[in-house]
């Protein structure tokens, strides 16, 4: 039984019932069984929780909810640990390049990998696939790579799912890394999923924290779930490599050490490995006149309180002064004041800038899940009870149409200096 309620511990307090996202727990009469709650000075309600295994997905949300630790979830794999695990050593980072340019998330991951490698006493290697990439190798080594596995050929200049997956799988099978990290980008996520399935490895997406378990020397992968309402720590103890993707701007980049030296290992494969059934016909770049939302360090965002498309001009001016991107809540997008590409929230983009300025946004949960990981939130709203103020680092209660121009003017002054 993978999950059970320890009857003697359960006082029927219903905390677990309230927490279950799948409505899988209900209360039944204890039928005279006592509970240890009495001894702890707690009142036994005479009822106990029962989990409906038909509804339960073993997500584990009930476990921490129970204050009496009456819910036990057995997630440990009973099969014997795989003896060949010892053969896997080293931390790999998939280095993402687009049009010959290394994506900054790769540097962030190299920095993290270096930190993790210290705890495992192993090397950090970058895996770089493409064509004509020699000029980048030093930079990668300076940022933490001890080795770089380099696979180059004209057919694989640009990313395509199958050839890149084939190559990465072959490298993994040959060199056996214990950990593989990759950016949670459009490329990274589809590539790594395919690789993980083929080599049968555990893969955790969008990790916000990575660490090494000191006892078991395995990777602890922490990520949000249910729209960020809960965090889960995940391990892949019996399969290798342990794989994780991390979003851009989550891990900090360490400054490069230009004294570092590293080894370049060039690999090449049979052209059938580079073959792709899907063909990349063209890459079309769309240059946004306003700064790309997911890259922006500062976002100025408008909601229902903006009262009209023309008022977004005020936000655009503020954004221009700050070098920021402009975002919008769903209410503003639904009213046709801003295009959908600017929507932040559960059905739009998730952003985590350094500074998020929410103007005339009430702060409904659907919006919050899209921006609550922002480092600093400045909320401006005329309603002092707006939910956004509960999560804002700084809040201004007032008229956005007075405050925003004043802020624009003030920031302009500051930045001129």
């Amino acid at each position: 039984m993978p999950i059970q309620i320890i009857v003697e511990k359960c006082t029927g307090c219903t905390l677990c019932v309230k927490v279950c996202p799948f409505d899988a727990i209900r209360m039944v009469d204890k039928k005279g069984l006592t509970c240890s709650g009495k001894q702890a000075g707690l009142t036994c309600s005479g009822r106990q929780a029962v989990i409906d295994l038909n509804k339960c997905t073993l997500c584990g949300a009930c476990v921490p909810a129970c204050k009496l630790k009456a819910v036990v979830l057995e997630k440990e794999d009973k099969s014997a640990p795989n003896p060949s695990l010892k053969d896997y050593k080293g931390i790999w980072v998939f280095i993402e390049q687009k049009n010959g340019k290394i994506q900054s998330v790769s540097y962030e991951l190299l920095s993290k990998a270096k930190e993790l490698a210290k705890k495992l006493s192993c090397a950090v290697s970058g895996v770089l696939i493409g064509n004509d990439l020699d000029e980048h190798l030093d930079e990668l080594i300076w940022h933490g790579a001890d080795n770089i596995y380099l696979v180059e050929a004209p057919q694989i200049t640009n990313f395509q799912d199958e050839p890149y997956a084939n190559i990465l799988i072959k490298l993994i099978q040959k060199y056996k890394p214990e950990i593989l990290l990759c950016g949670a980008t459009a490329i990274g996520r589809s590539l790594i999923s395919r690789v993980a399935i083929t080599v049968k490895a555990g893969l955790t997406a969008d990790c916000t924290e990575l660490d090494i378990d000191p006892g078991r020397k395995i990777l602890l992968q922490t990520r949000p779930a249910f729209g960020g309402n809960i965090m889960a720590t995940i391990i892949s103890p019996n399969y290798r490599p342990q794989m994780a993707t991390v979003r851009h701007k989550v891990m900090p980049i360490m400054p490069p050490d230009k004294n570092r030296k590293g080894k370049i290992i060039r690999e090449s494969f049979n052209s059938s490995v580079y073959a792709s059934r899907a063909k990349l016909l063209d890459i079309v770049e769309e240059i946004e006149t306003l700064v790309n939302l997911s890259e922006a360090d500062i976002i100025v965002s408008g909601g229902r309180g903006m009262n009209g498309a023309k008022n977004f001009k005020l936000l655009e001016e503020l954004a221009h002064v700050l070098g920021a991107a402009v975002g919008a809540s769903r209410a503003a997008v639904d009213s046709d004041w801003m295009p959908y590409s600017h929507q932040v929230g559960q059905t739009g983009r998730t952003v985590a800038p350094k500074l998020y300025i929410a103007c005339g946004i009430s702060g409904q949960i659907q919006h919050l899940v899209g921006m609550q990981s922002s480092k600093i939130i400045l909320a401006i709203n005329k309603d002092p009870d707006a939910p956004i103020f509960k999560v804002a680092t700084y809040g201004i209660v007032g008229d956005i149409f007075e405050i925003i121009p004043a802020l624009t003017k003030k920031f302009k002054e500051i930045l001129k200096k």
């Binding site: 009262n307 639904d334 009213s335 046709d336 009870d385």
Partner: protein
């Protein structure tokens, strides 16, 4: 109140509710300002099969059921009475064909109306013939295999945008009330043009305009039923559609009440939510009770019509009169609860007041409805 709706009726309500909340509510203010005909919403309503609620299955509909039509109209009206009336008025223009059309006419027009590819309109009102419908002057003169139409209709809902029109015209002035006939006429027929589109106080998403007939020639196949049946077609049609107007009023009232309750909860004065003030609570209680009473009247009348009960004129008039009076009162009271904000067009409630007013006027003014009820009462008592 639980009206013990069938599963299918619950589905209709749920689906119309979804359309109202997801598709209509976000654009209601926009259409109110622009007065554009909401073709994209009509398309969504059509794809949901709601036009099938007043068209038999063999012609592409689901079944003819007035209660179903009321449920759908009520839910759509909660979000916008103007957009909802575009749908309900098409029902009004379709019923004559359903009730009196011959096989060819039904086959020709009903499938497109069921798909929402075309919408219909009913044209009886003229500048000199409002409440006094028998005073219509538009003529239809038989000439060989054709009728020649001359005259002017005005205040026609869906006018200008609808493709299919039911026209009531005099074929024989000497016969008085028995001298009117009903015709089907399509937009684009030579001699059939549209006059001005009215600039209305409310239900601005719907189009209301003049129909002008100048020696307009239509084939005799377009006559509905027989010559002289014009007013009978009209009365029978109104019997089916009147609960729908009542449902529109009901939806407006319900929508206004919901806005008022929500606002009352959020608005704080004197340190607390205004919903905790007894004065506001009593207003809300009265509004909710009146709406429920109106709803009971509307649903019961619709059920009677669907059951085939012959004489529903009195109940139909009661439902329409009461629901529309309730809508007006509830809308005004809801605006009052919004206070100063209610008066601002930025807030959605003032539109409900403007939309509610017409329900007391069209499809027979509430004064005419009272005449109908009183006359019926007296007739019954005289037995």
């Amino acid at each position: 109140m639980d009206y013990l709706l069938s599963d299918e009726q619950k589905m209709i309500k749920e689906l119309a509710h979804k359309i109202a909340e997801e598709k209509i509510r976000p654009v209601a203010a926009k259409y109110d300002r622009s007065e554009e005909y909401p073709w994209d919403i009509i398309k969504i309503i059509a794809e949901a099969d709601l036009f099938g609620l007043f068209i038999p299955e063999e012609y592409g509909g689901l079944s003819v059921n007035v209660l179903n039509l009321c449920l759908a109209t009520e839910e759509l009206s909660r979000a916008c009475g103007g957009i909802a009336v575009c749908y309900a008025a098409s029902a009004l223009g379709t019923f004559p064909i359903v009730l009196f059309g011959n096989e060819e006419q039904k086959k020709k027009y009903l499938p497109d109306l069921a798909k929402g590819k075309k919408v219909a309109a009913f044209a009886i009102t003229e500048p000199e013939a409002g409440s006094d419908a028998s005073a219509i002057k538009t003529t239809a003169k038989k000439e060989g295999d054709y009728y020649i139409l001359n005259g002017l209709k005005h205040f026609i809902t869906n006018g200008g945008d609808a493709q299919v029109y039911i026209l009531i015209a005099m074929t024989d002035k000497t016969k008085g009330a028995r001298g009117a006939s009903a015709f089907i006429i399509e937009k684009g027929t030579p001699g059939f043009t549209f006059g001005k589109k009215e600039d209305k106080f409310g239900i601005r998403a719907s189009s209301t305009c003049e129909l002008i007939f100048t020696d307009c020639k239509i084939p005799k196949e377009n006559l509905l039923s027989k010559e002289g049946m014009g007013f009978i077609v009209t009365m029978k049609t109104f019997d089916m559609s009147r609960p729908g107007v009542a449902a529109q009023a009901l939806g407006i009232a319900q929508g206004a009440l919901e806005l008022a309750v929500k606002y009352a909860k959020e608005r704080n004065q004197f340190g607390k939510s205004i919903s905790s003030f007894q004065g506001i609570q009593w207003m809300l209680a009265d509004m909710a009770t009146e709406i429920e009473a109106a709803r009971a009247l509307v649903y019961s009348t619709a059920r009677m019509v669907d059951a085939g009960i012959k004489d529903v004129a009195k109940e139909s008039a009661m439902a329409k009169m009461f629901a529309s009076d309730v809508a007006m009162k509830v809308a005004v009271d809801s605006l009052q609860i919004f206070g100063g904000y209610g008066y601002m067009r930025d807030y959605p409630i003032e539109k409900y007041v403007r939309d509610a007013k017409i329900t007391q006027i069209y499809e027979g003014t509430n004064q005419i409805q009272r005449n109908i009820i009183a006359l019926q009462l007296i007739k019954e008592m005289a037995k």
